[in-house]
């Protein structure tokens, strides 16, 4: 489904990704782990099409289609979904209006009829229950005044509504207490299906106790330095990143940059 080859990307002239290779097939769940500053978030943003990052070499294809040729909104319509590490607050646009506009943009793209306000309200209420968000959150501004956990649940709610082909979860576990982590994980597990892939970007392995990945990759210094199965994450937890020869200074320097 997703194929990344020799991906190089930079921001403001500084190279962050230095040759990423990754293949993700439908139905698979991949975890990308790595210390701060290793390029995890950059990879997420580049996949979603953030123009702040320049792709300088390599390719990304989704089902054989060149993703780099597509605008952010076109990628979304082709099935790329990024759950943001820091979801954006947009006062003045209601969550309901935002979600309906997004869902209808997808439906229009697929040649389906738009949902009217009443139909959508019904659907949105159901899905908000699934992530344990009170329906009153639908009336509030997008993420406006939401707690960290509420924002993350709102991200998963969007994924459930938009039903993407590839869901990228950027540090979705950060800032969640154990109950919220459970709710969010249940939402993500509900997304798992044979025709969908999930890419989880995370610093810690605790999320992987709830969402069990098929593959784990370690990203450091802009490259994937090790890949393995579920047991790799456990090994990392036990031994730390130092075990793979990643010096702490490297991580610190990259983070500072």
């Amino acid at each position: 489904m997703l194929s990344i080859k020799n991906l190089h990307a930079s921001v403001e002239g500084k190279e962050i990704l230095k040759g990423i290779n990754l293949d993700v097939k439908a139905g698979e769940v991949h975890a990308i782990m790595g210390p701060n500053g290793s390029g995890k978030s950059t990879l997420s943003q580049v996949l979603a099409g953030n123009e702040a990052f320049d792709v300088t070499d390599g390719s990304i294809t989704l089902n054989g289609e060149n993703l780099l040729e597509l605008e952010t909104e076109e990628r979304a319509r082709e099935g790329i979904f990024l759950a943001f590490q820091y979801p954006v607050e947009i006062p003045g646009v209601s969550n309901l209006q935002f979600l309906r506009t997004a869902v209808n943009a997808m439906r229009t793209h697929k040649g389906e009829e738009e949902m009217n306000a009443a139909e959508f309200m019904k659907l949105a209420k159901e899905v908000s229950k699934q992530v344990d968000l009170d329906p009153s959150f639908l009336k509030r501004g997008v993420n406006e005044g939401f707690s960290g956990g509420e924002k993350k649940r709102n991200e998963i709610m969007q994924a459930l509504l938009l039903q993407p082909q590839l869901a990228i979860l950027d540090e979705t576990d950060s800032g969640l207490d154990i109950d919220a982590l459970k709710v969010v994980s249940d939402g993500v597990n509900a997304l798992r299906s044979d025709d969908r892939a999930i890419l989880m970007v995370t610093h810690y392995q605790r999320l992987l106790n709830h969402i069990v990945p098929d593959y784990v990759h370690v990203l450091a210094g802009g490259k994937i330095i090790k890949s393995g199965g579920r047991e790799l994450a456990l090994e990392l937890e036990e031994k730390g990143y130092g075990w793979l020869g990643i010096k702490d200074e490297d991580a610190a320097t990259d983070a500072a940059n």
């Binding site: 909104e73 979304a76 947009i90 006062p91 003045g92 209006q97 935002f98």
Partner: protein, 428 residues
């Protein structure tokens, strides 16, 4: 030193002699002051950013003909009054004959009433700050007199449509005087529209007396064409425990200027002033507001938002003056501005003058652009870039548009805003 420019000669001659004698005399008296009246220049502080847009030519000095029949039917619900080129059209108007409520054209007042009105006209405005209001006082050919007896309540909004037909150059001088008696209630809509393409001036004055305990809501909708220079002034005086609420929705033009002056003269009076302005192309819009806290224990709350696209220019000047005896005043002014293009300009100036020592006074002004992070968030959900821009721009003013208490006006505003978006944001 070069002498300041004065009005072109054609502006000095009033037309339309059908007013009652006392009003004709008032007009004549005001007219004598016009001859030497200096027009604002960029050195005039309160016209610093806008004087370059004021372009009065001699052929704009004559009054637009008042005897034409309007083609536009007023498709607004409720009570309505139609004015064409500053003169009331009774046949296109529809308003109630209710106990305690008088809605009348100046031309229909008897001499005694007209004499009382003549004494009160201009008393709600600070003439030094609204130079061009004098032109209206010297030239108005008709006007709308609204009077509410104590306790009278107008049960629906009164929609006043001022249309100018700009088939040839000229000017019009709409005038409104409202006397809201004790504990009366009234909602007014002033809508300014135009047809035709010749260069014209619309010069308006609205005065509102809000007696003790009365409540007046005033909505101003400025939607004239690209050929209309508009200079308007509204003066409000509020007595004890009265309430005045103003909602301005303005679309730019070659010159758009509105001065809103509110005097809080009685204890416990409160006012709320909201304003939304959008400009595009080479349009201009300038809102100047003044709130005079004269009595103690008064509240004022002011929120204005400007959006400027292309090479347009928006101006906001908000003055709050808290007089020495106005203890326990509470004043809150907020102005936010959104620039949609590098070529657009917005000038904002809060002015606070405080002479009392026990007051709460807050003000804030910001100028920004659409937030790229927010745009990315929206488009990452499949929402088109154009729609994302529209959503974020609407978000900037939604709060104010939603507060407009008349549904038909909200709808009109939304329709015009959508036209603005169509022209401002390209289809992705």
């Amino acid at each position: 030193m070069k002498a300041a420019p004065t009005l072109p000669a054609a502006f000095l001659h009033p037309a339309g002699q059908s007013l009652p004698q006392p009003l004709l005399e008032l007009r004549k008296q005001r007219g004598t002051a016009l001859v030497d009246m200096p027009l604002p220049t960029r050195k005039t502080e309160n016209w610093k950013y806008s004087s370059k847009y004021l372009k009065l030519t001699d052929d704009m000095g004559i009054s637009l003909p008042a005897d034409e029949k309007t083609g536009s039917s007023l498709a607004v619900p409720g009570y309505k009054v139609a004015f064409l080129n500053g003169v009331m059209l009774p046949e296109a108007s529809e308003y109630p004959d209710l106990e305690g409520i008088r809605i009348q054209s100046f031309g229909d007042l008897d001499d005694d009433e007209a004499a009382r009105l003549a004494e009160r006209l201009d008393s709600n405005l600070d003439g030094k700050a609204v130079q061009l209001a004098q032109l209206n006082s010297a030239r108005f050919e008709d006007g709308l007199f609204i009077s509410l007896a104590p306790e009278a309540v107008l049960d629906q909004p009164l929609h006043i449509v001022h249309e100018v037909t700009a088939d040839a150059s000229g000017s019009a001088f709409p005038r409104i005087y409202v006397d809201a008696g004790r504990h009366s209630q009234l909602t007014l809509v002033e809508e300014y529209i135009s047809s035709g393409t010749a260069a014209v001036l619309v010069n308006t004055v609205t005065e509102v007396e809000v007696a003790e305990g009365a409540s007046v809501t005033s909505i101003r909708l400025n939607m004239e064409g690209e050929n209309v220079q508009h200079v308007g002034a509204t003066g409000v005086r509020q007595q004890r425990s009265s309430r005045f609420e103003s909602h301005t929705v303005g679309f730019g033009g070659p010159l758009r200027r509105h001065d809103l002056q509110v005097r809080l003269e009685g204890e416990g009076a409160e006012c709320k002033l909201n304003g939304v302005v959008v400009t595009q192309g080479k349009q201009h819009y300038d809102n100047h507001t003044t709130i005079e806290h004269i009595a103690a224990h008064c509240n004022s709350e002011e929120t204005y938002r400007n959006i400027a696209a292309d090479q347009s220019h928006a101006v906001f000047n908000g003055r709050i003056h808290i007089h020495q005896d106005a203890q326990k005043s509470n004043a809150d002014m907020n102005n936010k501005n959104l620039l949609l293009s590098n070529g657009a300009e917005i000038d904002t100036k809060p002015e606070l003058e405080i002479y009392a020592d026990d007051v709460k006074c807050a003000h804030g002004a910001t100028i920004g652009q659409l937030d790229e992070t927010s745009v990315f968030y929206l488009v990452s959900r499949g929402i088109g870039r154009r729609q994302a821009n529209v959503l974020l721009t609407m978000a900037f003013i939604n709060e104010l548009v939603d507060q407009i208490p008349v549904e038909s006006v909200r709808e009109t505003a939304h329709t015009r805003l959508n036209q603005f978006f169509d022209q401002t944001f390209e289809e992705a």
